[in-house]
Structure formats: structure tokens, C-alpha cells
């Protein structure tokens, strides 16, 4: 059996396509994609907050303090335009011709005395299809004036500062959270870990599975192998181990690579909470997460091998395997739904229970007795599927379709 296993691994390592999907893709391409997205999104956000914008104002004479505050912002440049800037069509024309980035319309009842003016609406006219944070930047200016006006209004009414605070925010709900940081973060991100790991294990195993089952059949090497004096169950076990090793390796390479890239990124960007969260998970729980992956990978390997043996060709095998991705996707997406916990029926659904158990391990709230039960049931499922593979591999109608 080990002889066949070693040969299969040697062949996989010599296959550029498999190596690309198993090693290069997770090691370089995924981090480049995610890193690139992270970098460009961050850059776009920074640009939108610091980019110089031009604007025109109607009714500037009604709000001299506001205008002074706006003109003190370096990234905002006022441009005097002729025409009626209170007119909707005129303003629309100005914006569409890109004469300015936005037009601020100040009503004639604008006053710093809130008691006199009542609530005031400032209109910000712009083309908001682009990321430019205009409203946020204007709001920063108006918030200061608003706060000042509020304080003045209350002072005019003779209201003390403590009463002012109570009037503005009569009831405060203060949360006293007994969950530690790990449990809180784990509840949010814990479901994502099994989701990514399962998909990566399956994806990493798919190509080798199609190659060493249907691919061998297509190339005519399977029949030759069947004629060697090796029991067929040993051939199945060797192929099963190869697929499982490929799936697990692919997932581990991805995790390690993402970890390294996260560290690289954290040097330049604030990743404190993430690092704090990861360091809160002890080594034993990491080991248990890895152990829980083993029966999952074994289940995937058995399913993929059964499909691959049945298929006549590599292409046909890939056709059978693609829907498997959806079948696997459904039970693990459940773990991402808020409120779904490792209780009742969820503890008995294959893959879902392992995904929820990994989530609990990440949160640090796993009941280890229950974990043993889930591990045991997953091993039994994987074993049953492997048994089916052995039976399947002995069927002439499957091997010589």
C-alpha cells in the first residue's frame, strides 16, 4: 500500500498543474488577491478622506461661522460661481459639468440661535456615485457648530450641563459583557475558520482525486495496476491517503501562508485585535482544530475517490465533483448563521457538527466530551464511506464502464 502511496505522491509532486493548485495558489495567489484587495480598498478610503474637493455655496451670507469653519479645512476649496445656486436645474448642470465637486445650499433662516431658527436643513448636492466621503467631511465641520449652538441654546434657557446631557440622551444602556475578548471575537469569526478550511481541503483534494482515479482509467494505467498482485483494498487505501494528504496539505499551506502574510501586513497596518485574538487560542485547541479536520478530509477523500473511480475520464470526474462543492457548502454555511449553536439537531448533522465544534474551540467554550462524540461519529462516517469505496472499487461495472 505504501509503495502505491509513495508513487502517487511522487507523481503529484511532478505535476505542475497540481502543484500550482496545491502550493502556489494558496502560497502566493490567494494572499496576493486578498492583500491586493486590502491594499487598494484602504488606499481608496484614504484618498476619499483626504482628496481636495471644490465646492460652491448658496446662502453663504447667512452662515458666516459655518463658512469660516469650512474655509479652514485645507482639503476643501471654495469656488465662486455665477448664477442662481439655489436653483435645482442650475446646480444639476454645474455638477454634471464637473465645475465643482459639490454645492452646499444654506437656507436664509440659518442662525446660530437654535431657539430662533428651529431645525435647519443644509442641502448637499453632489454626484454620490463615487467614493469621496463628502458628507462625512462636511458633517465633521457642522457637528462642531451644532454642538456649540446646542450648548448656547441650553445656556440661554438656564439649563445646567448635567441636565443638558440628560435632555439630549435621557436613557443610557450600559453593557456589562462577561464574555472575554476571545469568546466575543470567536463568535464573530469562529464560523469563518471551518468554512475556509473545509473548502480549501475539498478544493486541494479535487484535482489529485480526479487524476488518480478517472485519470488513471483514461490513461490505461488503472487496468495495469489492477493486474499487480496487490489486494484491491490496498490500492483504494493508498489512493485515499494520497487524496487526503493533498487536501490537508493544501489547507495547511494556505493557513500558514495567510498567517505569514497577516504578520507581514500587521507590520504596516494595525492588526492588534486579530493578533490578540489568535494568541488567546492555546496550542491545545489549535491541535484539536487540526484533529477535527482529519475525519472531514477523510470524508471528502472517500467521496471524491468514489466519484473519480466511477467516471470514465478526468473531465467526467470533474463534472461529478463540482456539484459536491455545493453539497459541502450548505452544511457549513449554517455555522455562519447567527444563533446556530452546537445543540440539538445541529450536533448530529455531519460536517455541520464539526464546523460548529471548531467554532466552539476557537471561542474557547467547547465541551470536550461532546467533541469526542463528534470526532467519533465523523470517523465512523468517513470509515463507512471508505468502506463503500473499497466495495465500489471491486465492481466490474464501475471499473470497466
Amino acid at each position: 500500500m505504501w509503495l502505491i502511496f509513495k508513487k502517487e505522491i511522487l507523481e503529484l509532486l511532478r505535476d505542475r498543474k497540481t502543484l500550482f493548485f496545491m502550493i502556489a495558489l494558496p502560497l502566493l495567489v490567494f494572499p496576493l488577491i486578498f492583500g491586493g484587495m486590502f491594499y487598494f480598498t484602504g488606499k481608496a478610503m484614504t484618498t476619499s478622506q483626504t482628496e481636495s474637493l471644490t465646492y460652491a455655496v448658496s446662502g453663504a451670507q447667512y452662515a458666516p461661522e459655518l463658512m469660516a469653519a469650512l474655509e479652514s479645512v485645507d482639503s476643501l476649496a471654495r469656488i465662486d460661481l455665477s448664477g442662481n445656486l439655489s436653483d435645482k436645474d442650475t446646480v444639476a448642470g454645474i455638477i454634471s459639468r464637473n465645475e465643482v465637486d459639490f454645492v452646499l445650499q444654506i437656507p436664509n433662516n440659518f442662525s446660530n440661535d437654535v431657539g430662533q431658527s428651529g431645525q435647519i436643513t443644509l442641502k448637499l448636492v453632489l454626484n454620490d456615485a463615487q467614493l469621496n466621503s463628502v458628507q462625512v467631511r462636511i458633517q465633521e465641520v457642522t457637528d462642531k457648530i451644532e454642538s456649540m449652538n446646542q450648548r448656547n441654546a441650553f445656556a440661554n434657557l438656564g439649563v445646567s450641563e448635567s441636565i443638558q446631557a440628560a435632555m439630549l440622551d435621557p436613557i443610557i444602556v450600559q453593557k456589562v459583557n462577561l464574555a472575554d475578548a476571545r469568546e466575543q471575537t470567536g463568535a464573530i469569526f469562529g464560523g469563518l475558520i471551518p468554512y475556509f478550511m473545509f473548502i480549501l481541503c475539498l478544493q486541494g483534494a479535487m484535482l489529485p482525486a480526479a487524476d488518480i482515479g478517472a485519470g488513471e482509467k483514461e490513461r490505461g494505467t488503472l487496468e495495469t495496476l489492477l493486474l499487480s498482485p496487490i489486494d484491491r483494498y490496498k490500492i483504494v487505501l493508498a489512493k485515499f491517503l494520497t487524496i487526503a494528504t493533498a487536501g490537508l496539505t493544501s489547507a495547511l499551506v494556505t493557513v500558514i501562508s495567510m498567517g505569514i502574510w497577516a504578520l507581514v501586513i500587521s507590520v504596516q497596518m494595525p492588526m492588534g485585535p486579530v493578533v490578540e485574538f489568535i494568541s488567546a487560542i492555546d496550542g491545545f485547541d489549535f491541535l484539536l482544530v487540526f484533529l477535527m479536520l482529519i475525519p472531514v478530509v477523510a470524508t471528502f477523500a472517500s467521496l471524491l475517490l468514489a466519484l473519480s473511480i466511477y467516471a470514465r475520464s478526468f473531465k467526467e470526474a470533474q463534472g461529478y465533483m463540482s456539484p459536491l462543492m455545493i453539497v459541502v457548502f450548505l452544511p457549513i454555511i449554517v455555522t455562519l448563521i447567527p444563533g446556530i449553536e452546537l445543540k440539538g439537531v445541529w450536533a448530529w448533522i455531519p460536517l455541520t457538527n464539526v464546523a460548529l465544534a471548531i467554532k466552539e474551540l476557537v471561542k474557547g467554550t467547547m465541551d470536550y466530551v461532546q467533541l469526542i462524540a463528534i470526532f467519533g461519529s465523523s470517523v465512523i462516517l468517513a470509515g463507512a464511506l471508505l468502506g463503500f469505496c473499497v466495495y465500489w472499487f471491486k465492481q466490474e461495472k464501475v471499473l470497466f464502464r
Binding site: L10, R14, R219, T221, T224, L226, S228, P229, E396, F400
Partner: protein, 260 residues
């Protein structure tokens, strides 16, 4: 020695309605079953080369696949020496060197690695594998390409490597399914010489072919299969005697024996 007696094999037809009109007329079709081999018997003694002839779809490959243990017969018996192939397939596989018609090689392994792999699967040690590879490579003129990856081999190189792979463990009997198909004249001659050498070593060889000139050059005994039945089984001289001046005519007469 190989002895096959009253061998039969039927397959379930997955969807009989989808068969072509010509397939539906095949007398071997019986409802949901297709009797690929109905009754085949043959015998190949030590030092004998048996030529297995028959038109495409006659049941030659199914017969050879049963002999090689890839398929289980529905009835009949196959003996290699004193080993019952059906009862003890693992032991039988150690005794057979089999080259199927659809044989492939592991493209990402070199020719040598392909042969070594099957030597190890047959329980050989490193030293004897190395010695045997050198011996076969000399005979089949393989040294120039033995250490190249087989994905880039020509048809002739592939077939030579496949033959080497089939006989690396020094089998007691050799079964070759159309070993010269697709080969150029030089490569075909090397293969024919190799089969002749096996014969001289006393190893029984069964090989199926469509080349009647190879039959007269190599074979001592001829079996012709048609529609899953043995239509002719006898010495080469008896086969040739069916039409002494025209081997193709002899073949056609051997086929028509089953019809009569």
C-alpha cells in the same frame, strides 16, 4: 501451461433501448444481458506461442481480461499451472505477465521508474529489478530513452516500456493483447523477436493480433474466437491448411466454422 475451459462472461446492458440497430441484432444480446464470451476453451503449453485471432468485438479482450483476473467469469475455469485463477487471483497475478490493449504508462515517471514500480509491486528487491531492467533494455533496445519521462515517448517507446513492465517479474506465462498495433516496422520486429525469445525460454505466450504474418512467423497454435465462441482451435499447420495459399481466406474459413 494455461488451460481455459468453457469460459463464459455476460455483462448487464445499462440501457438496451439505446443500443444501435446493428447491436440489437447481435445474437449474443439476451434481454438485459450481453454474452460477450459464450464458450471459449483453449490451451497453451510450455514453450508454445498461441495466436488468438478474431474480428473486433469477438470476445478476445474479454477472454484475456478474465485470464488476467481483471474480470470474473460467470462460468468455466482458468488454470495457470496448478493455480486456479478464479479462486486465487492474487497468486495468479504473480504468475502472469499481461499487456492489455489499452495499456498506459505513468507519464510523470521515467521509463525506468515505471518498470521499477511494477517490479516492486511484484515483490522484487532492488538488485534483481536493476538486473532485470538492464536485461530487458538490452533485448528491446531501450537504453536511449529509459531515463526520460514517459509522457514524451513515441508509440514504440511506450509499447516497449509496457512490455518490459509486464515481464519484469519473470512471469511463468505471458499474455499480450495486440502488442504490435500502431508500431513501426522496426519496433514491431523488436517486439516479435522478444516474443520469440520468450518462447525459446519455454514460457507459454498467448497473444492476440490482427496481423496474420506475425501468426505464421511466431505461433505454434491458433485459436479463433467469433461471437464469443471458439470457432477454430488447432495447430498452425491445420489453420494454414484451411487455405494454404491465402491466410486471409484461411481466417475467414476458420470464422465460418462457428456459423456452420
Amino acid at each position: 501451461m494455461i488451460v481455459i475451459k468453457e469460459l463464459a462472461k455476460k455483462f448487464t446492458v445499462e440501457n438496451p433501448k439505446k443500443l444501435s440497430e446493428q447491436d440489437k441484432k447481435d445474437p449474443r444480446l439476451d434481454g438485459r444481458y450481453f454474452h460477450s464470451v459464450k464458450n471459449v476453451s483453449l490451451r497453451c503449453n510450455k514453450g508454445q506461442v498461441l495466436g488468438l485471432l478474431g474480428p473486433n468485438g469477438a470476445g478476445k479482450t474479454t477472454t484475456l481480461r478474465m485470464l488476467s483476473t481483471a474480470l470474473q467469469p460467470n462460468s468455466g475455469s482458468i488454470m495457470i499451472g496448478d493455480i486456479d485463477v478464479v479462486a486465487d487471483p492474487v497468486m495468479a497475478r504473480k504468475k502472469i505477465g499481461f499487456l492489455s490493449g489499452s495499456t498506459g504508462l505513468y507519464g510523470r515517471l521515467t521509463g525506468r521508474e515505471n518498470i521499477e514500480y511494477f517490479g516492486r509491486l511484484n515483490g522484487m528487491n532492488e538488485a534483481s529489478i536493476k538486473a532485470k531492467i538492464n536485461e530487458i533494455a538490452d533485448q528491446l533496445d531501450m537504453h536511449t530513452f529509459l531515463d526520460r519521462r514517459s509522457e514524451n515517448f513515441s508509440t514504440g517507446m511506450k509499447q516497449k516500456t509496457s512490455i518490459a513492465r509486464a515481464v519484469v517479474h519473470s512471469p511463468d506465462v505471458v499474455v499480450l493483447d495486440e502488442p504490435t498495433t500502431g508500431l513501426d516496422i522496426m519496433a514491431a520486429k523488436t517486439v516479435i523477436d522478444f516474443i520469440r525469445d520468450l518462447k525459446h525460454k519455454g514460457i507459454p505466450v498467448i497473444f492476440s493480433t490482427h496481423h496474420l504474418d506475425e501468426v505464421t512467423e511466431l505461433c505454434d497454435h491458433i485459436s479463433v474466437i467469433d461471437h464469443g465462441l471458439t470457432s477454430f482451435d488447432g495447430p498452425l499447420a491445420d489453420f494454414v491448411a484451411l487455405s494454404p495459399n491465402n491466410l486471409h481466406e484461411a481466417f475467414m474459413r476458420a470464422l465460418h466454422r462457428s456459423e456452420s
